[in-house]
């Protein structure tokens, strides 16, 4: 399957706490193709966050292989993984993780500080402003987190995750802190990003409505995949996805 964006092979993650070893992920293998929209569900403590951290290159598996966009990343150095996180991964957190006392525009531009593109300051600003407009915050660029609602803060975080045009967006309970109306807003945004921008989305959720937006639903239980169901969604526009993915490269 050459077009798999994510490929896991027998991923295990064990935490050692003194004498005790906690086997949190116990052999996970899966493939996620480009342009997919995946929801990761499972009961609390089943290892969803642990898996997301591995997928997001924030953590390394105890054993197993992880291919991201054609590269085996589980054995890379921490600097190399930092580069991958910067270029290929967008991360959205449950608690937004915005910098305090920093304007929305600067939040969105922040990852560019660690990118070695010859992007001029003006271009960077333009790109960040464009993303903020896309998430519907064109009027809020100079607002600080304290001046934004939860949904708006999460949208700033989404814009930040997209600044380096990553092919994939990981979101660990992105709507966990939001009410149902704002949740709907954020989900609508994810749907649009997936459909029109061709961005692969993998999100963790406890909420069946949220999971319902995804076309594929992977359920974890005790560190293993309990079920993996794909719902027949609207016809995929593979060609369009590919084109956007290429632009994003």
């Amino acid at each position: 399957m050459p077009d798999d964006l994510v490929k896991l092979h027998d991923i295990r993650r064990t935490f050692h706490m003194g004498e005790i070893s906690v086997h949190v992920l116990r052999g996970i293998s899966l493939e996620i193709e480009r342009g997919a929209y995946v929801a990761l569900t499972g009961s609390s403590g089943s290892g969803k966050t642990t898996l997301m951290n591995l997928l997001g290159c924030l953590d390394r598996p105890t054993s197993g292989e992880y291919w991201l966009d054609g590269t085996e990343v589980s054995r890379l150095s921490s600097d190399a993984r930092a580069l991958i996180r910067n270029k290929k991964i967008g991360f959205v957190f449950q608690n937004f993780n915005l910098l305090p006392r920093t304007t929305a525009l600067e939040q969105v531009m922040m990852p560019l500080a660690y990118t070695n593109t010859g992007l001029s300051d003006r271009d960077a600003r333009e790109r960040a402003a464009g993303l903020l407009k896309m998430v519907g915050l064109g009027e809020r660029m100079d607002h600080r987190p304290s001046q934004l609602s939860g949904g708006q803060q999460q949208r700033v975080a989404i814009a930040r995750a997209l600044i380096n045009q990553p092919p994939v967006l990981f979101a660990d309970e992105p709507t966990g802190n939001l009410d149902s109306r704002t949740t709907a807003e954020i989900l609508e945004m994810f749907d649009r990003l997936n459909r029109t921008e061709g961005i692969t989305i993998i999100l963790v959720t406890h909420d069946p409505t949220v999971a319902g937006h995804a076309r594929r639903n992977i359920r974890l239980r005790d560190g293993m995949i309990e079920s993996d169901t794909t719902r027949e969604g609207p016809p995929k526009e593979i060609n369009h996805h590919r084109r956007v993915a290429e632009i994003a490269e």
Binding site: N53, G56, L58, D59, S78, D79, A82, L83, R85, N86, K87, F91, F93, N97, L99, P100, R101, T102, E106, M110, P111, A113, Y114, T115, R160, A161, N164
Partner: protein
Amino acid sequence: MTIRKTLSTAIRALRRNITRSALTVLGIVIGIAAVIAMMEIGKGSSGSIAKTIASMGANNLQIFPGTAATGGVSFGGGTSLTLTAEDCEAILRECSAVASAAPLVRARPQLVYQDKNWVPTFVFGTTPAYLTVRDWAQLAEGDIFTDADVRNASRVCVVGQTLVRELFGGENPVGKEIRVKNVAFTVMGVLTPKGANAFGMDQDDILLAPWTTIKYRVSGQSNASTATTATTTASSNSADTTYPGAASVFPAASSSSTGDNPMPPRFANIDQIIMAATSSDQIRPAMREVTALLRERHRLQPGEADDFSIRDMTESANALASTTNMMTNLLLAVALISLVVGGVGIMNIMLVSVTERTREIGLRMAVGARSRDILRQFLTEATLLCLVGGLLGLALGRGAALMVQKFLRWPVESSVEAIVASIVVSAFVGIVFGFYPAWKASRLDPIEALRYE
């Protein structure tokens, strides 16, 4: 991460908590200000000491009668009558390292001019060579007295600027007559201003006259009293001796019986000889030559102590300078300690900042910051803080030094070295004390940092 991005990120981070940043740098500001002020004041005073030494006569040497002081015993000027005007002439004749020399007779008489009176700090009986020794030959008005005046014990003098001001009310005193202890002197000339010496004494508060005049006409009654006593003893001895032939036993007595007939050879002792070496590196050879000559002239046996002592003019000035230097260095050490304390303050606040910003660090790592980016960011913040503190301290220190100059009238000199050093030191403090917190930040695990509450 480019330097520009690092800098702007650091500035943004510091601006996010401006009050804390300001308080953090306070230690550095005070430390650098203290260093700068100390350096400027210290340099100013050593500069003024160097100037004073030059004004006192850089290559000057002084010869005093009596053995050199040891321990707490000071020179007893005039306690031994070993130095004569002939010694001075011999030194000039025979010592090649001595450029010029003049005898000195000290007195402290009251001067009277019309209705004013004044007791100058210095009243010296000397020869015209005195001004050559002191490098003071240029006169403001009139002329110096001549060697013939010295031979004849003429009642002439030259005066310093302070006397002109205090006694003559600023008018030209040349040709005027003043009374020095009831002896009338004609003012021949006025000296150029010289200022204060290393001990703060006014060198312009001076009257110079032929040494013979001062010795036999002015201080005949007081300062050279030993000589007078010897004379009277001698004369009373001769008076007691009613037999005419007895006078031949004390030949000196008859010749010195009258003050009006000057220069009895035996009692032509003087208080001091002042001389100048041909150059500063000839000071030591001059001292050797003079010592050898005077020992020979005074018929001292080998092993016998010198009956005179030679003092290097710069010696006492150097002692003064070294005291000043020591004080400056001590204060500088205190200032440097305060700088270290400031550095520890920076470290403390940076550690707090790292803990407080753990989530931010985790987030930065999650979006692609490598640990060296984090290290660099925190190091830049600490260094930037210290540099800003250093610059503020520089301004404050310069201001303090200028205030000291303005209100305390202390000499102050700005020094480029101090400025460069303080900038370098503050950057150094930032790097040294910022390193540990920055290193700690860079070692954080992104997952744990993101989860930190």
